[in-house]
């Protein structure tokens, strides 16, 4: 623990340089002025927040919030006397919407973002356009009524939302022992319940209604009566920008006053909506809120000593837990990679043709498909291709993301190790093999006593970098819900909004890991060094990571 603290304080010094560039300050100049100068207004939208903001069949963004933003854009055009103002659409996710707003990428976020005090430290909201409650959806057959029924189960929620934060807090406070998986977006989260990887999905009820309505079997689903909280939605804009906010608020107020809101509301909540023509049938609840707050990006390196909302300790503990998963995944995958890689690598140098071909095929398959795609294949596809009972068992395994990541990374890396081992053996002059055979050693003996001991020394440096790769590549597993180091940095960012502190800490930890591994391996190399041989020669650099 002491070392960790020292590490973080080293980080503090290192990143002072970053501070010189200046804290992000997107708003001082005024969004209106910026829009005027650039002739462009950029709307952030979601890709699956039905009916607020989502992609239709033709991949264009539509929805209730998009229509409202259209009204705001009209008002901006009038205010600036720019009838030809260009409107750009920029997709955002729960995790990216606030940073993208803060850094000036988007000017309005037209989606389903909860307006709360925490977020008001970072952004501003216009008049509330919807009110929802945090509930969960599950299969009727599972008969899950309230939080107590979920004890010890796995649930899912969308990362970066207030919903996941709430359930995480409750889980910690009430000690429910629920495993909470973060999903990239609502569709992915819903799919996790649909495919049986999670028992329930916590989200704003309105979104749950729409997901159920557009699912293949709406009758199979039920939404909990118990609500964790009630939440107002608002269109997001940058904070500290009164002139822009005035225009936006004015536009919204006008929509409400003229009664136009009823038409727009009915269009999205009381009629069939694209793409599937489902009618959500949610009557209007009219709550209006109007909040303004003024806080800029605050540097706060003390963040790591603050308690995180999961009730398990400080944010530093979150980071350490993430590091633990990174190491566990990397080590377990490395064992698989080394064992399989050695075998496949050796096989590829044997005189038996079909064995060699098999080894080559192994390497080519794992080398030529992106790791992320392989991760998805193992996580989403393989369980579906197995017999139903095995598939279900796999999906409901506790920590299935961890096991999947280990297997996937292990096999992926085995191909790379095999390539290094093959190259190592082949770099030995063929005379060594002949000398062994001429002595009367069998082929296995020649490998065991002569080729492999030398090849291992030669491949030590490239294997070191492969091990470093495994550590780094384990970050890809965050896409299937493994909360390793990068994912825990991201979750700190999402809960606390301290983007730079969180990512800096993670980066420094990765660098420290790198250093430790390199030094350790160098020691090992020195211990295995053969007297009279100068190093193992400078190998050609291999492409890779």
């Amino acid at each position: 623990m002491k070392n960790c603290r020292r590490l973080v304080s080293v980080g503090l010094v290192t990143v002072c340089a970053l501070t010189l560039v200046g804290p992000p300050a997107g708003a001082q100049e005024g969004t209106l002025k910026k829009i005027k100068e650039t002739g462009v207004i950029t709307l952030g939208h979601r890709d699956a927040s039905i009916p607020f903001s989502y992609f239709d069949d033709k991949q264009s963004a539509i929805g209730y919030a998009i229509d409202l933003c259209g009204k705001i854009v009209d008002a901006v055009k009038a205010e600036l006397k720019m009838p030809n103002l260009q409107v750009k659409l920029n997709p955002v996710t729960s995790a990216t919407r606030i940073p993208l707003m803060a850094n000036g990428t988007i000017d309005l976020e037209c989606g389903s973002t909860t307006n709360n005090l925490e977020r008001q430290k970072q952004v501003s909201f216009t008049i509330t356009h919807f009110v929802t409650a945090n509930r969960f959806v599950s299969k009727k057959a599972a008969n899950l009524k309230d939080l107590n029924d979920l004890k010890g189960k796995t649930v899912v929620s969308t990362s970066g939302t207030t919903n996941i934060k709430q359930i995480t807090e409750l889980n910690g406070q009430k000690n429910l022992g629920i495993t909470i998986l973060p999903a990239k977006d609502h569709a992915e989260a819903f799919l996790m319940v649909e495919t049986g990887r999670a028992a329930a999905f916590f989200m704003d009820d309105i979104l749950l209604y729409s997901l159920v309505a557009s699912s293949k079997t709406p009758a199979e689903w039920t939404i909990s009566a118990e609500a964790l909280s009630v939440e107002p939605y608002g269109i997001m804009l940058r904070k500290d920008d009164p002139s822009f906010k005035k225009v936006v608020d004015g536009a919204m107020a006008a929509v409400y006053k003229t009664g136009e809101i009823n038409k727009i509301y009915a269009k999205w909540f009381l009629s069939p909506v694209p793409p599937k023509g489902v009618n959500l049938n949610v009557p209007m609840s009219d709550v209006f809120k109007h909040v303004v707050a003024k806080v800029k990006y605050n540097w706060n390196w003390g963040i790591f000593w603050q308690l995180s909302p999961d009730g398990r300790g400080t944010y530093l503990d979150t980071l350490v837990a993430g590091l633990g998963w990174t190491l566990a995944t990397a080590m377990a995958a490395w064992v698989i990679a080394l064992a399989l890689g050695m075998i496949v690598g050796v096989v590829r140098t044997t005189p038996t043709r079909w064995l060699r071909r098999l080894g080559d095929a192994w390497v080519e398959v794992f080398r030529n498909v992106p790791l992320l795609v392989q991760m998805f294949l193992w996580f989403f596809v393989v369980p579906e291709l197995l017999p139903a009972s095995v598939g279900t068992w796999l999906k409901q395994l506790p920590r299935s993301a961890f096991y999947t990541a280990v297997v996937c990374l292990g096999l992926y890396t085995s191909a790379r190790v095999a390539e290094q081992v093959r190259a190592g053996i082949q770099s030995l002059a063929s005379g060594q093999r002949m000398a062994g055979i001429a002595l009367g050693l069998t082929l296995p003996q020649t490998y065991r006593f002569i080729l492999l001991p030398m090849a291992i020394r030669i491949v030590m440096p490239p294997l070191t970098s492969e091990f470093l790769n495994v550590i780094k590549n384990s970050a890809v597993a965050l896409t299937i819900g493994l909360v390793e180091l990068t994912a825990s940095a991201r979750s700190i960012q999402e809960f606390s909004f301290q983007v730079f502190e969180a990512f800096t800490a993670a980066t420094l930890i990765y660098m420290a890991l790198n250093l430790i591994v390199v030094i350790g391996m160098r020691r090992l190399e020195r211990r295995l060094a053969v007297p009279g041989l100068i190093g193992s020669g400078q190998a050609m650099p291999m492409a890779g990571h």
Binding site: E364, A489, A506
Partner: protein, 231 residues
């Protein structure tokens, strides 16, 4: 659940996947490669420079990039690029940066660290005598580098550079974490909308495999041709 498979969905969505997704992926790969090699070569020259400040700065950059996971770098740059851009252009506020430009900068900067190491080995593989011969003819540092050393280094390293580019091509799939519609992103949107994960992800894997395998076979052939003695 996902009992019966619907392979026809691939035929129905392929035009969208390739027109939207693959175009993004390939454009990003090509531009990031070009930028990455240029920036990487500059970094390599810095690392080999005799000015300590230059070489230290370049090594620090390369080492940080090489010890950080790409996913984390993508997150970093997604939030950093608008400010960096504003700072570089001397603008008073963060500039507007779209998803494409942001990922382009990310991959250029990230891959440059890897291209740098390849080019460094390439430059070091050229005997010192070549440099001296250039100077002896009265050429300047930049002329010697540009006319004599770099062309040879580039040629020697061409297969490795191309192999790195194939890796870059596969790496671009990671923009998925930003919900960008690259090839994988497009397929995954369809997959999640229609609940057709098996079909779509298998198809994606096959396409990536075909392209990467095809390209690496070409690289192997090129390598064989380059190693013909007495070229």
């Amino acid at each position: 659940m996902l009992t019966a498979f619907d392979w026809d969905i691939i035929r129905r969505t392929a035009p969208y996947l390739f027109r939207e997704g693959m175009t993004f992926t390939l454009t990003l790969t090509a531009l990031a490669m070009t930028g990455g090699i240029v920036f990487g070569t500059l970094l390599a020259m810095m690392r080999l420079a005799s000015y300590r400040t230059l070489s230290t700065a370049a090594s620090a950059y390369v080492n940080v990039m090489r010890s950080t996971p790409l996913v984390l770098v993508i997150f970093w740059f997604y939030f950093l690029v608008p400010w960096m851009g504003g700072w570089l252009l001397g603008a008073t506020r963060p500039i507007q940066v779209g998803a494409f430009l942001s990922s382009l900068v990310t991959f250029m900067m990230f891959e440059a660290a890897y291209y740098c190491e390849i080019m460094r080995a390439g430059i070091q593989s050229i005997p010192r005598g070549q440099m001296w011969a250039g100077y002896a003819l009265g050429l300047s540092y930049w002329q010697t580098m540009g006319q004599i050393v770099l062309p040879q280094a580039f040629r020697n390293m061409l297969p490795v550079l191309l192999t790195q580019t194939i890796i870059l091509f596969q790496d671009t799939s990671l923009v998925y974490v930003l919900s960008i519609t690259d090839f994988l992103g497009a397929a995954s949107k369809v997959a999640q909308r229609d609940g057709r994960l098996v079909e779509m992800y298998l198809f994606v894997a096959v396409v990536y495999f075909a392209i990467s395998f095809g390209l690496s076979s070409l690289v192997k052939r090129l390598q064989a041709r380059l190693t013909v003695p007495g070229r």
